[in-house]
Amino acid sequence: MELLFSAPCWRDYTLDAMNKAAKDNKLSSMREAIAAYVVDDCSVCIEGFTGFISFAAGHEIIRQRRRGLTLIRMTPDLIYDQMIAAGTARKLIFSYTGNPGVGSLYCIRRAVEKALPCPLELEEYSHYGLVGRYAAGATRSPFFALRSYVGSDMLAANPLIKLIDDPYGTGKIAVVPPLNPDVAILHAQRADRQGNTQLWGLLGMQKEVAFASKHVIVAVEEIVDESVIRADPNRTLIPGLIVDAVVHSPYGAHPSYVQGYYDRDNESYLAWDKLSQEHAAVIAWLDEWVYGIENHAAYLRKLGQEHFDKLKPEPLLAPSVDYGRYR
């Protein structure tokens, strides 16, 4: 994990950022985006808290057979369970590894408990600690301070978490260092061609991860004109300035959900709980649903449109607000 606030490395980063800003059209296929930015042994962060999880990106990384990745995610969820079973990862940085609302993530447990298919190094935080690492990375701060960890064995389990004295004399406080993933892949409702991205619903940690990461791929349900973004600037979570590639990825977060577009496909989460208890069954599933199909569009065809019609919520529209024209 590279700290971005040593001047040279920071300069590289920001000049790079300037180049990002230059591209006026960053539209790309998921295959191209993954091939361009996710290389063996790099650190990858596919974020989104229970929703907005780019399964399309995770499956493409498996399909391109990346190896030695450091996977970063607060709640690994099914997608990292699948990527770890496929042997893409060497290390996992996380804060809660469970099948949300269902149970265990058996592939990750097999990797940790039995080194199957390969050993998996763990680096572990609480939620706020990992959010803090993203926030420090996003603001080029040398650390993030939080009141957690005092009295917890997590301090001993992770030497990157330190206790320092509050300079104002109120006692000990924990700090965590910045985290700057090599690549972030973030799913949202809409973006324009420059990567200006709007998200509503659970904001999670998407903003902090985007600003913390050296490369950012945004995957969205809809590509919209820049004028749509500019019509509600308070909703823009990620500016195109820091985005490398924009992927049009409808239903790309399935089986997780996208607020207002589709619901979580809970049957898939329950099915995974059973299926994933045997490594062989997982490999068979990967052969059929990842290796066996060329891309996410094929995955959607395989599931069929009716499948997604059932996941569509009724509309619930937010009232408009008036920004006013000042001229």
Partner: protein, 255 residues
């Protein structure tokens, strides 16, 4: 009319709901604690607003949420914020009145383990880890545990302290400057335990109908301290059962 029959889960839900009387902000997970909060809204805590670590304040779910990040928690909520703001502005700020927590293991001082069974480096069982539990246990004004009473869970020594309770007892928590008040109650399927003594040691304070002190001790891995008086908790009322079965968990997802 005859005594209504009920399940252990229904009893836990009814008891947990009663303990939330007057609560205004409750930090909650999914499943049984969520049902208990919804029941409390109908009964003893009409002003209660639910806070979820996913970034939701004042949720009004139209269905039982499948996870703490369920989209039904977002639609119709008072405010939905980033997780940095939820943990910073709400939880660490001290605005969470009561937090409901669970874990794989608990010790006599209410410290919780949700990280590993066995050695951390070479775990026998890898558990999910802290999630928000460490900060919840640190910052919430009051913490209630909801756990089934099992000898493998109520242990003499934790394999790993994920979330600090009363640490080594007495004023050890205050001495380390933890802002929250720490564990107050443990609500189980057989009895209620609290920490209302100077040593902040878990003690039996109430048993459910038909449960003996011996039944409780049999599921606790250390000699369990007894409160001066031990009450018998009232069974769920017909109205509590009706609300659980018809209003808050009509599909019996958590019973």
């Amino acid at each position: 009319m005859s005594e209504p029959t009920y399940t252990e889960s229904e009893m836990m839900i009814a008891v947990a709901a009663r303990m939330l009387e007057g609560a205004r902000t409750v930090f909650v997970g999914v499943g049984l604690p969520n049902i208990a909060c919804n029941l409390a809204r109908y009964t003893v805590a009409p002003d209660m607003e639910l806070i979820y670590e996913s970034g939701v304040y004042g949720a009004r779910p139209e269905r039982l949420p499948l996870s703490i990040g369920d989209p039904t928690l977002v639609s119709g909520a008072i405010s939905v914020v980033s997780m940095a703001d939820l943990f910073g502005l709400y939880l660490q700020r001290g605005l969470v009145e009561i937090a409901l927590l669970g874990g794989a293991q608990i010790d006599r001082y209410g410290n919780l383990n949700s990280t590993v069974i066995g050695a951390y480096a070479k775990p026998k069982t890898r558990l999910p880890g802290s999630g928000g539990a460490c900060e919840i246990a640190t910052n919430a004004q009051r913490t209630f545990m909801i756990m089934r009473l099992k000898r493998r869970a109520f242990v003499d020594k934790l394999d790993f302290i994920t979330s600090p309770g009363h640490l080594t007892g007495g004023d050890s928590r205050a001495r380390l400057g933890l802002p929250g008040g720490g564990p107050e109650l443990v609500i189980t399927d057989k009895a209620i335990l609290n920490f209302a003594n100077p040593e902040r040691e878990m003690q039996l304070t109430a048993v459910y109908p038909g449960v003996t002190r011996e039944d409780v001790q049999a599921e606790v891995g250390w000699p369990l301290r007894l409160a001066e008086t031990i009450q018998e908790t009232a069974a769920p009322t017909a109205e509590e059962l009706r609300l659980i079965r018809e209003e808050v968990d009509p599909h019996a997802m958590y019973r």
